[in-house]
């Protein structure tokens, strides 16, 4: 446990002494804030229009603006993190391999699981730190919303983003463990995320077996439920097992480095 904590602390320290954490968090907040503002203003405008039309034609206005804001906002956030998470994970192992410090870690009395979990938790923690300020947006909106926004939808949305982030981080760190170059790690990770994102593009709505498999594997499809306030067990299982897979593969890579034959 102490070893895991030491790895975690070093990794966190590493994020904040290098510009990477500030850049990633900064870009994320800038984009998230920009999109939140746009989503909100467009939806508010639309709801005014709807109200005016309702007055003219005598139909009751039916628009739940906060729910729509949540849904759109989480949709945007999930897409932004596909681009940003590769930057958080690219250095995790690639840099250690390049510097030879992985040899230090692997000849120290800590298990590979401690190394992998320490790094995974550090990246996940930074990810949470990155998300936290966006809570303020919703609280601000809640102050002026009548009736109060459906907070449960917000919570399930954040849970979804967290699970998605964990899955992406574990896959990203696996790819980082494969190479000594951060650039290659980042590019490959990004390529993988894009692939997982558009996996179901060609088979949307298809009912064939392969079509359903591809749809199931598409990484953002599971996210829609969360953004709408539905916590679907199958989606939950999907993200958790994807995280587990990434961690397992990373462990195997570290182990394989000892047994390599070249």
């Amino acid at each position: 446990m102490r070893g895991l904590l030491a790895i975690y602390r070093r990794e966190m320290g590493g994020y904040f002494v290098s510009p990477i954490a500030y850049v990633v968090v900064g870009i994320f907040l800038l984009l998230a804030g920009y999109f939140f503002y746009n989503i909100l203003s467009i939806l508010v405008e639309r709801s005014f229009m709807a109200q005016m039309q309702a007055q003219r034609f005598g139909q009751p206005p039916e628009m739940d603006v906060p729910s729509m804001v949540f849904r759109n906002f989480f949709g945007i956030v999930s897409t932004i993190i596909l681009f940003l998470i590769p930057m958080l994970t690219m250095s995790l192992y690639a840099e250690e391999r390049k510097r030879g410090t992985l040899e230090l870690l692997m000849t120290s009395p800590i298990t590979e699981l401690q190394i992998v979990m320490g790094k995974f938790l550090a990246a996940l923690c930074l990810f949470v730190v990155m998300l936290l300020p966006t809570l303020g947006y919703h609280i601000l909106m809640g102050l002026y919303s009548e009736p109060a926004p459906p907070w449960r939808v917000m919570c399930s949305g954040y849970l979804g983003v967290f699970l998605l982030g964990a899955a992406l981080i574990s896959l990203g760190s696996f790819i980082s463990s494969l190479t000594e170059s951060q650039i290659i790690a980042a590019v490959m990770t990004f390529a993988l995320f894009l692939l997982l994102w558009v996996l179901d593009a060609g088979v949307r709505g298809a009912t064939t077996a392969s079509g359903e498999v591809l749809q199931y594997l598409s990484i953002l499809r599971h996210f829609d439920d969360f953004a709408q306030g539905v916590i679907d067990t199958s989606s939950l299982v999907f993200y958790v097992s994807l995280s587990g897979l990434g961690i397992f593969l990373t462990l195997r890579t570290l182990d394989a480095m000892r047994w390599r034959t070249a």
Partner: protein
């Protein structure tokens, strides 16, 4: 402290380490000497448990490096060829980190870090970022890292490579200073280094042990008796034929001495015989003018070359293993 038996390592088809056995007692400094690709780094990596051996066993402090890797890792400090440093950390946060992953408790930590910094003389660089340090200081931080948890065994891979002569001397002194309390295994391809720092030398060549002994004994043993250097005036051919009559002469090498008519003759005799008086008598009797006669002992350098370039009965194709 360290017992290695029939250790081998194969990378694909390449035999990096081939059936080596040796042991190191507590407090000893053992040097691995060999050309590049001799298997020094591979052997060390197997001792640290980083690489599993293909065959054979290695034990550190009674624990098998593979079966009881965690116990071994607690007792080993290891500095790879390039010190494993995090450039963006300061010296003492780095050493604290290493101390933690080596299993030091928080109460021991600050003391051990302070002590290891003092041992390698970097206490004044405590808060410096590692990336701002010079090569020599980085090397010392690497050393401090290897001893921060006060391990029984310290393994140093080429600890003086890339340093300037002054730094090399300092690092050697540091290593000498560590001996006694720690058992040290170091590798080098610089010959004077082993004779200066090590109690015992293992000469590795192509993954096999070519020799293992103290630097003094190696010199003695391989001297093969004596080598005599003679300065003389006379005909080269005549000198040679005269010397060939002396019993026990093994090899004669005659060269003219620059800017004079004299000749320099190097005479090697077969094992353990001192032929100085016979040679002198023979030369004087044959009427040559003898100017100088002295016994020369082979330097470790020559022994090393002899051992590693000597034709050996090849069992396998030669290997160039990554070090």
């Amino acid at each position: 402290m360290i017992e290695v038996e029939h250790l081998s390592k194969t990378f694909g088809k390449a035999q990096a380490v081939d059936d080596i056995s040796f042991s190191v007692v507590r407090g000893e400094i053992l040097g691995f000497l060999g050309p590049n690709g001799a298997g020094k780094t591979t052997t060390m990596r197997m001792l640290t448990g980083y690489l599993p051996a293909t065959n054979g066993t290695a034990k550190v402090a009674g624990y098998d490096v593979f079966e009881q890797s965690m116990e071994v890792r607690k007792r080993i400090g290891y500095m790879p060829e390039s010190p494993p440093l995090y450039p963006e950390m300061s010296v003492h946060t780095y050493l604290e980190f290493v101390g933690r992953i080596k299993g030091l408790t928080s109460s021991e930590l600050s003391n051990r870090v302070k002590e290891s910094m003092q041992l390698v003389n970097i206490a004044d660089k405590r808060d410096e970022l590692i990336k701002r340090l010079s090569r020599g200081y980085k090397q010392r931080v690497g050393l401090a890292q290897a001893i921060v948890h006060n391990p029984d065994v310290v393994i140093l891979d080429e600890p003086t490579v890339g340093l300037d002569p002054k730094q090399i001397i300092e690092v050697r002194k540091l290593i000498k200073g560590l001996a006694g309390g720690h058992t040290i295994v170091l590798s080098t391809h610089i010959l004077p280094e082993v004779s200066m720092t090590c109690d015992r030398v293992v000469i590795l060549n192509k993954g096999r042990i070519a020799a293992i002994d103290t630097p003094e004994n190696l010199t003695l043993q391989l001297e093969g008796g004596e080598r005599v250097r003679v300065e003389i005036k006379g005909e080269a051919a005549a000198v040679r034929s005269a010397l060939e009559k002396v019993e026990g002469v093994h090899r004669i090498d005659i060269r003219p001495l620059e800017s004079s008519e004299r000749l320099v003759v190097n005479i090697e005799s077969t094992t353990g015989r001192d032929l100085r008086s016979q040679i002198a008598a023979c030369l004087v009797h044959s009427g040559f003018e003898l100017y100088e006669l002295q016994a020369v002992s082979l330097s470790l350098e020559e022994i090393f070359l002899q051992l590693t370039t000597e034709e050996q009965p090849e069992r396998r194709e030669p290997v160039a293993a990554g070090v």
